[in-house]
């Protein structure tokens, strides 16, 4: 009897191979986007030094992780819905969340090289030093899992074209109006308080603390907010995927 874990491995293999033609290109584009975020914000904000530079360089990976989860992983579901394979895949005796896990894994693998590269580019470009903790990897997974659960819920419930529109809008908001690359103090106070209950700021804080632990920390409150969002969104995604018309 194939276990859920084996099914996850096989489905990941299925999805990876299905993307195999474009895989190298996707890895390169992801890398370019991640590096571009680090360098681009640097240009926008002028000469950066010290903590501000460190803030930016350690925020960029979060943006990549959110984009993977929120845009790339659900894009596979939307694409499968459009090409008609989603419905057939759903007839397989596989627990619904395994689909989410497999897609998320594929995209995490696609984005990992770029994310790591972006951190290195940031270190070189802004002449900063990092203090990386072992738990930065599970932390990164928590971040992209939360984002993927949101993206997947939307992709499961909305028609593919609307779902893509929604996720693109969210990415725009995250890039420009979220305390990921710049501190929350620079936002209007109402926006800062909205971010206190949204998962984006805790995501950034967590990754930042994992990369530069001697400068940044994450408090228990934001961490709980993030964990709650993750649990809630995964449950919601499961329900959305199990929904029958």
């Amino acid at each position: 009897m194939t276990t859920v874990l084996q099914q996850y491995g096989l489905l990941t293999q299925w999805q990876l191979r299905r993307q195999s033609v474009y895989l190298p290109l996707l890895v390169v584009v992801q890398g370019a986007l991640a590096v571009g975020t680090v360098l681009g914000f640097g240009i926008l904000m002028g000469d950066l030094e010290g903590d501000a530079a460190l803030y930016l360089a350690t925020g960029a990976p979060t943006i990549t992780l959110i984009v993977i989860g929120l845009v790339m992983a659900p894009q596979m579901l939307a694409q499968a819905k459009t090409e008609g394979s989603a419905q057939w895949l759903m007839t397989l005796p596989v627990p619904r969340l395994v689909f989410l896990a497999a897609d998320l894994t594929v995209w995490t693998l696609v984005a990992l090289p770029g994310t790591v590269l972006a951190v290195f580019v940031g270190v070189l470009r802004y002449d900063i030093s990092l203090d990386v903790s072992w738990w930065v990897l599970p932390a990164a997974l928590l971040v992209s899992l939360t984002a993927a659960a949101i993206g997947y819920t939307v992709a499961a419930l909305l028609p593919p074209s609307l779902a893509m529109l929604f996720t693109q809008l969210v990415v725009f908001v995250i890039l420009l109006f979220s305390p990921v690359s710049v501190p929350a103090e620079q936002f209007p106070s109402w926006l800062a308080s909205v971010h206190a209950v949204l998962p984006i700021e805790p995501m950034a804080q967590l990754v930042r603390a994992g990369l530069a632990g001697s400068t940044f920390t994450i408090e228990t409150g934001p961490l709980l907010v993030l964990v709650a969002w993750c649990a809630g969104c995964v449950a919601l995604a499961g329900a959305a995927l199990r929904r029958r018309g």
Binding site: M1, T2, Q6, Q7, L10, L11, Q13, W14, R17, R18, Q19, S20, V21, E83, G84, S85, Q87, W88, L89, M90, T91, L92, P93, V94, P95, R242, R244, G245
Partner: protein, 332 residues
Amino acid sequence: MTAVPALDVADVTKTFGGRRPLRANDGVSLTVPEGAVVGLLGHNGAGKTTLVNQVAGLLLPDSGSLRVVGHDVVAHPERSRREISVQAQANVPITGLTPRTAIELVGRIRGGSRRDVARRTDGLIEALDLGQWASTPAHKVSGGVARLTAFAMTAVVPGRLVILDEPTNDVDPVRRRLLWTQIKALADDGAGVLLVTHNVREAEHAVDDLVILDRGRVIAHGTVAELTHPLRSTLQLDVDLPPGRAVAWPPCASETGHDGLRARASVPAARAAEAVAWAQDAVDRGDLDRYSVTPASLEDVYVELVGAAGETSTHAPVPAGHDADPTEGTLR
């Protein structure tokens, strides 16, 4: 028989909302015993795929029950799905994979051991004569090969209920025969096979039982012999006309169709000699190009049933020997 059927659908109704609600299934009941091939026949839009999606637990019925090997699909879709394998109507895109890897991966996802799946995959590839393309990237194979691959993906580790939605589409005549053999083999190995199709001619030779669906309702069910029984004493006379000529049927023939230069009539079997004599005479005179006399086929029955249902839009005849549908009433 006390054995639990592979599929038991009882009085299933499914309506899709919207400004003009569409009743896609209207009191549908059918049974697929283990070891049998049951054909589900119907036009486009008859409600076949809607029914399949409910059996697979992708759609919820408004009312009625669906049981797969005794498991309630509505209450326990994940449990039921373990007993089902489905070949979808549309080909599942497998770009990036080869037919062999696709078949093997699905087999293992469905719970087969690596060795069993590899052996069964080899067997199916050979039986369907796919060897030439087994290791070709999927984007380079033809539609027919993709269709056969989709079948093999369904049959590699078959459920106790196998649902095949138009499995022969795009498949060449030679491999079609191989495919039919494999479909029969699934049933011989004990699976219940629900074969969804609008290809009446092919189904006639491949199925044990038939269910004919029209506008969401079961309008007839039974074996091919039972369904064609009312027409057993009727022959079909087909004639090809020269351009510009009208057909003057003999008294023994009553016209059932006319389509350009082809016309069709039914003839009582007892008066076959009379009809043949008339037709041969007409050919000799140049009134007909050629003719043929054949026994009434399932297609004739099907056209009669579906045509009747379409014309009267109230209720369709149920062939002799079958219970009338208890929910029979108005269509729509």
